[in-house]
């Protein structure tokens, strides 16, 4: 009797202990909490950075309209950029940025797609061994080096070819073409590789030539991927600052033709920000240009998403 009582008591104590153990966090759980905390903290930092960047640039960028009472429409459509005299027409820069971006994308796309077809369809072996490193090297060349070569080679070349100073949209286009080429190429390669093998085999089995297969089957089913690649390339061109600034000539005038000097949002920003006083109209107007850059990168982002969604839908159907 006493013994069983004792045993029961002992069991009780033990189960209490177990219970306590079960109620307390184990070492593993605590580790998990710490780990979770660390990783949440890190992601928190990134979110904070993005949020404050958006907040600061937006609040600086809209000051032109809220504090200096420049009308938004006049800012976007005005063609006279002389912020020192209160003239803040940003259209020349906006057009300049779009002009060089589209021109570079138009020139680069055939080269990029051609190279990608070569790497995936014509000679995958050479593509992997030889062209892949070439593309990676092109990505790795810093933008100031592109700018330097533009200044040392392309600008004098253009000067001889078409006269004038050699600075202008066409020189900037050439520099940007080389800069976006690797971006578009490598992403196009990825999307071509993602085309299911049996599409190609089916087409070849039907007796189609290689070019017929490539142009009517492979390129068509990789369209959304290629479009995404082009948009990424355009985003890079739109935001590129120094290489463009070095060769475009920085004239805040409406681009009349491809050989006249022009300016882009980025080139105007890098030239002007150090000469303006914080809080004044010339400074705020430059921040508004930065805000346009920011909004455009959001637009490029959104475009990529829309295309990806469309592409998915097509494949599901």
């Amino acid at each position: 009797m006493e013994q069983t009582n004792f045993q029961l008591k002992k069991q009780d104590a033990q189960s209490d202990e177990w219970e306590a153990q079960l109620h307390h966090a184990t070492k593993a759980t605590r580790e998990d909490w710490i780990g979770r905390g660390i990783s949440y903290f890190c992601i928190g930092i990134i979110i904070l950075v993005v949020a404050s960047m958006l907040w600061f640039i937006t609040s600086k960028g809209i000051a032109t309209f809220t504090q200096n009472h420049v009308s938004l429409w006049k800012f976007l459509s005005g063609t006279n950029w002389a912020p020192d005299q209160g003239q803040t027409g940003a259209l020349p820069m906006i057009l300049g940025s779009f002009a060089v971006t589209f021109a570079a994308a138009i020139v680069a796309t055939p080269f990029a797609v051609g190279t990608a077809i070569f790497m995936t369809e014509i000679s995958p072996n050479k593509g992997r061994k030889f062209l892949q490193p070439v593309i990676e090297l092109l990505v790795g060349i810093p933008s100031v080096v592109y700018g330097f070569i533009g200044l040392a080679v392309i600008v004098p070349f253009m000067r001889h070819l078409v006269g004038g100073s050699g600075f202008g949209i066409i020189s900037a286009t050439f520099v940007l073409f080389v800069m976006v080429l690797p971006t578009i190429t490598s992403m196009t390669v990825d999307s071509l590789r993602a085309v299911p093998r049996f599409y190609k085999e089916a087409s070849l089995a039907l007796g189609a030539t290689r070019w017929q297969t490539v142009s009517r089957v492979i390129l068509r089913s990789a369209t959304s991927g290629i479009l995404t690649a082009i948009i990424f390339g355009m985003a890079r061109a739109f935001g590129e600052a120094l290489a463009v600034q070095m060769v475009i000539g920085n004239a805040a005038i409406m681009p009349k033709n491809l050989i006249s000097p022009a300016s882009t949002l980025t080139s105007q920003l890098t030239t002007g920000i150090g000469d303006t006083i914080d809080g004044t109209l010339p400074n705020n107007a430059l921040w508004s240009l930065a805000l346009i850059l920011l909004l455009m990168s959001l637009v490029f982002n959104a475009l990529v998403r829309i295309i990806a969604k469309r592409g998915q839908l097509k494949h599901e159907r």
Binding site: I46, E240, N301
Partner: protein
């Protein structure tokens, strides 16, 4: 027959395109190296720049580039490691996660000049730290974080599910599984990503012009106390990097041999970036062999 002819024509056209792309790269490399390398010498690599003309060596700039790179990596690697683990392991598939992912995408697509101006606004205008190494390093971190985070997340997610389950079934915590089992397996990919991003950081200029500044004060390389003003390690001194120097010499340079100088500096920059690329590949394969114990 017609289809065959088109096929041939298309193939020839594509071959021409590829040849011209390869030609462009070789022209670029050959131009920089032939124009630059003859001017690269030991005194050029270690010498001081003449503040007035921009002529002279690139010793300080070269040091600044590496110092900024190291600082940037010290700040950005841990943060993106944590963030990458969060995305690969803890993030649930819901609206919040997709918001976080979009935020990272937005950060990665921002032009570097915008990132630089944000750094300028924050550190130089608001916090009044001035043009300094630390401002530059943090601006570069902003620019580096999204890419590194994505790279780490991808490398972690690529590790097979069974490895995770093995860890969890041994009673290890999720965190310990991630750190002890998944991370080592994913290490080759992560290291490759880090070294590649180092190449990008090394060549970046637009984000630095208004954060790390455009002047390279002569520093006393015998003084390694980070608190001393003349010490190369002082994080508060302005630090023009090699990439910024190239931009500056090209636009502002007065030296009669400005073109040769920037060609030489470009050659050094290109070689450094190439070494980073090569290093990334070699290190990646080496680590992969070590981790998988395959020959």
């Amino acid at each position: 027959m017609n289809a065959k002819r088109t096929d041939l024509l298309a193939t020839i056209l594509i071959d021409l395109i590829v040849a011209s792309v390869v030609g462009i790269l070789f022209f670029l490399l050959a131009y920089i190296l032939t124009a630059g390398l003859p001017h690269v010498s030991w005194s050029f690599l270690t010498g001081a720049t003449d503040a007035f003309s921009g002529a002279g060596g690139i010793g300080v700039q070269l040091f600044n580039s590496f110092y900024l790179l190291v600082l940037t990596m010290l700040i950005s690697v841990p943060i993106s490691l944590g963030a990458g683990i969060y995305l690969a392991e803890y993030a649930k598939d819901n609206w919040r996660t997709s918001l976080i992912r979009s935020a990272i995408e937005v950060l990665s697509s921002l032009p570097s000049v915008v990132v630089g101006l944000f750094g300028f606004l924050l550190f130089v205008v608001k916090f009044k730290i001035g043009f300094s190494v630390i401002s530059g390093a943090i601006a570069l971190t902003f620019f580096n974080l999204p890419l590194l985070t994505r790279n780490i997340e991808e490398s972690l997610s690529a590790v097979s599910r069974s490895q995770r389950e093995a860890g969890l079934s041994l009673g290890l915590s999720k965190w310990k599984t991630e750190i002890g089992i998944i991370l080592p397996v994913a290490l080759p990919g992560i290291v490759t990503g880090i070294v590649l991003s180092a190449g990008r950081v090394f060549g970046e200029a637009a984000a630095l012009i208004y954060t790390a500044g455009q002047s390279a004060p002569v520093t006393n390389f015998a003084d390694w106390n980070p608190m001393d003003a003349a010490s190369p390690l002082n994080p508060l001194r302005p630090a023009e990097t090699l990439a910024v120097h190239i931009w500056k010499v090209n636009t502002e340079g007065l030296a009669s041999n400005a073109a040769a100088l920037s060609a030489a500096a470009s050659a050094v920059l290109i070689i450094a970036v190439l070494l980073f690329n090569l290093g990334a590949r070699l290190l990646g394969t080496y680590l992969y062999r070590r981790v998988t114990a395959s020959k």
